[in-house]
């Protein structure tokens, strides 16, 4: 652990002061936004959906800000820096996935739902079982994702600020957790959205600057950049070809296919992405949001190619290097320093601090989105519609959502601190696998299959959720390998690290089995109504007027 902290902890005190002041600026700006947004939060539509008043381009930026986590900013470029081409594979799945959201989900969900993923199912199903199932999977997916982000934040911010020691890193986790609780309880969806918009703008511009400087060094000739990266990596042309990280044997190849499936099908089932479509006035704006998001996210992943290969070409990425010790996470930040003029130069110091602050803003925006999602689902689905059976005023509902945000924030801080020492990077892929296996089948069947009913929805959600989680528990990522979460026991029997190839078809299959076993046909009655509403927007929720 200590070796991991060497590079930036050794940085000159001036650098650290600059980094800290930029971090403080990020915190100050986001807190100001939150305070400003809070003054407009009156109704549940304000709190959960930002009054549905965001434009397509604003929401597109927010979607991109919600989606591009620190894992994709620092992680993907770091993986490219270390493993070359294979580091790029994640981003392709992450991008193509948006077509599923665009063509099949975003607009129809906007027209037929209200605040949460469950609203859309509850439209024609029995409220309580369906809401309980959908809320369970929403909260599980969000907490998995949140934990991975928070543990990452502890290490990362520690690294960026040069903070050493577990206590200080725990302090960072508490700080990040406290900030996200403040954004969500006070700012609601409106505050969270603006935090995400600011973050997306910072991230895109920061990445653009570094990409430009990297390409400048290689005379804007991609082939020259790739050649330099291949040579410096010591792996030659193999560095530019698939195979250094994934698919070394047949099991690895099937595992990679399984990962690819989860990535491409998971996005359109991620609850924190789905609820973003409720923040716009109509389905046309939802469509434009996704188009904007595709443009931004695609451009961003293209730039990470330049960042990753640039880091491979310009930094030391050998076995004992700082980049390798941080599993690639410091690659972008150190690259910023190098292209800014190198260690000790003013340009280098400024760019390093700037990119570190961008990474910090990235973490904050993503964790806030996840906390809001699980708090909304807890309050709107579980508390209001299952526990209190709808007899709750709007004011009470918002209060419950705020307390839920505090509770979920506290739980994730409490889980993230002890999890710091564990390798839990797999949780992001698991969140995608659960979203694809549990949420996507239910959403698609509900929209496109008249006969689908309550028990089908419940079967596919719980079936997909449980199978994905159980398979991962008995996989090598949890036990039985040197890089497992638990290294001193071995109870693994499922050979793949990614459950998607089994759990996704199973989720879809169980939806059919459950539907026919349930025999209940009453859900078909309102299908015509749902499809009219989903396709035309007739009777859909409208934007609130301020």
């Amino acid at each position: 652990m200590t070796s991991l902290l060497v590079p930036l902890a050794d940085a000159e005190p001036g650098n650290q002061a600059l980094t800290i002041s930029l971090f403080t600026a990020v915190v100050a700006i986001t807190l100001y936004i939150t305070w400003w947004a809070s003054r407009q939060n009156k109704t549940t539509a304000d709190y959960y959906a930002g009054g549905r008043n965001f434009s397509g381009s604003q929401n597109g930026l927010a979607v991109a800000g919600d989606y591009m986590s620190a894992a994709s900013f620092l992680g993907i470029s770091g993986q490219i820096a270390l493993y070359g081409y294979d580091g790029f594979l994640y981003s392709i799945g992450f991008l193509v996935a948006w077509l599923v959201a665009l063509l099949l989900v975003a607009e129809l969900l906007r027209n037929s739902g209200r605040f949460t993923m469950a609203d859309q199912l509850a439209f024609r199903m029995r409220q309580r079982p369906v809401r309980t199932a959908a809320a369970t999977s929403t909260i599980v997916v969000s907490i998995f994702y949140l934990l991975a982000q928070m543990v990452g934040a502890g290490t990362l911010v520690g690294l960026l600020l040069g903070v050493t020691g577990d206590t200080l890193k725990a302090g960072v986790i508490v700080l990040v957790g406290a900030l996200m609780i403040i954004y969500v309880t006070i700012g609601g969806m409106r505050g969270t959205t603006w935090v995400q918009i600011v973050k997306a703008v910072l991230l895109m511009s920061g990445t653009l600057v570094i990409t430009f400087l990297v390409l400048l060094k290689f005379h804007f000739n991609p082939s020259e950049l790739l050649g330099a990266a291949a040579e410096k990596s010591g792996k030659g042309e193999a560095f530019l070809q698939p195979g250094l990280l994934y698919g070394k044997d047949l099991v690895g190849q099937i595992d990679f296919l399984s990962l690819g499936l989860a990535l491409v099908l998971g996005t359109a089932g991620l609850p924190h992405i789905l609820i973003r479509f409720y923040t716009v006035p109509d389905s046309r704006a939802a469509r434009r949001s996704v188009q904007w998001a595709i443009g931004l996210i695609g451009a961003f992943y293209l730039m990470t190619l330049a960042l990753g290969f640039g880091a491979a070409a310009l930094l030391d990425t050998g076995k004992d290097s700082a980049v390798a010790a941080s599993k690639g996470n410091t690659a972008s930040v150190l690259l910023a320093e190098v292209v800014g003029g190198g260690s000790g130069s003013i340009g280098g110091a400024i760019l390093l601090a700037l990119i570190a602050a961008v990474a910090f803003a990235t973490i904050l925006a993503v964790v806030a989105g996840l906390t809001l999602t699980s708090a909304s689902s807890f309050a709107h689905d579980l508390y209001v519609n299952v526990i209190a059976k709808g007899k709750v005023t709007e004011k009470e509902e918002i209060r419950v959502a705020r307390f839920a945000a505090i509770g979920i924030g506290a739980i994730s801080i409490g889980l993230a601190i002890p999890a710091q020492k564990l390798n839990i990077a797999f949780l992001v892929a698991l969140a995608f696998a659960v979203a694809a296996s549990a949420n996507l089948p239910a959403l698609l069947y509900n929209l496109f299959w008249k006969r689908f009913n309550t028990s089908g929805a419940v079967w596919s959600i719980y079936g997909g959720l449980i199978s994905a989680v159980v398979l991962v528990i008995f996989s090598p990522v949890v036990s039985g390998s040197p890089t497992s979460m638990i290294t001193d026991a071995d109870f693994s029997w499922f050979p793949l690290s990614n459950p998607g190839i089994v759990s996704i078809p199973l989720g879809f299959l169980l939806g059919v089995v459950g539907t026919y076993l349930g025999r209940d046909k009453s859900s078909a009655n309102r299908y015509n109504e749902l499809s009219v509403r989903a396709l035309t927007g007739a009777g859909a929720e409208v934007a609130s007027k301020h």
């Binding site: 109704t43 193509v96 599923v100 665009l102 082939s223 291949a230 042309e237 296919l257 009219v532 859909a540």
Partner: protein, 126 residues
């Protein structure tokens, strides 16, 4: 609207049912309209083939990364190989399909949808 909509406490039960019946009738009327069947047909005829196409295209890419490494390693221009071009083509196809769908929806779906939406509002008032 119905089921989920917030209403001030004390709204009379009876009128709520009347509203609900009207809405259900209006939805049914729109559902039976020829334009709606046409809208549904156009939507499905676009999304089904394109979804199959981009999924196949993506899975082909994943399969090539796994099982066609010689092909992927082939250098095309300088250090730029088939793998990189194939990956970048996934970006191109995603941007293209997103733009195509947007154009299609603006021209072929939105006019029908807004007409039906207006019909729904008329029917609800009857």
């Amino acid at each position: 609207m119905h089921l989920f909509a917030f209403r001030p406490k004390g709204a009379v039960q009876m009128s709520e049912e009347v509203v609900h019946d009207r809405e259900a009738r209006a939805y049914e009327a729109v559902h039976e309209a020829r334009d709606f069947q046409e809208l549904k047909r156009r939507y499905k005829n676009f999304v089904v083939p394109w979804t199959i196409a981009f999924m196949t295209w993506y899975l082909l890419y994943v399969a090539c990364c796994n099982w066609a490494r010689d092909f992927m390693s082939h250098q095309v221009i300088g250090h730029i190989n088939v793998a990189l071009i194939f990956g970048l083509l996934q970006f191109v196809s995603t941007f293209m399909i997103a733009a195509l769908y947007g154009r299609f929806a603006n021209r072929r779906l939105d006019p029908l949808a807004s007409g039906l939406n207006a019909k729904y509002k008329r029917e609800r008032r009857r």
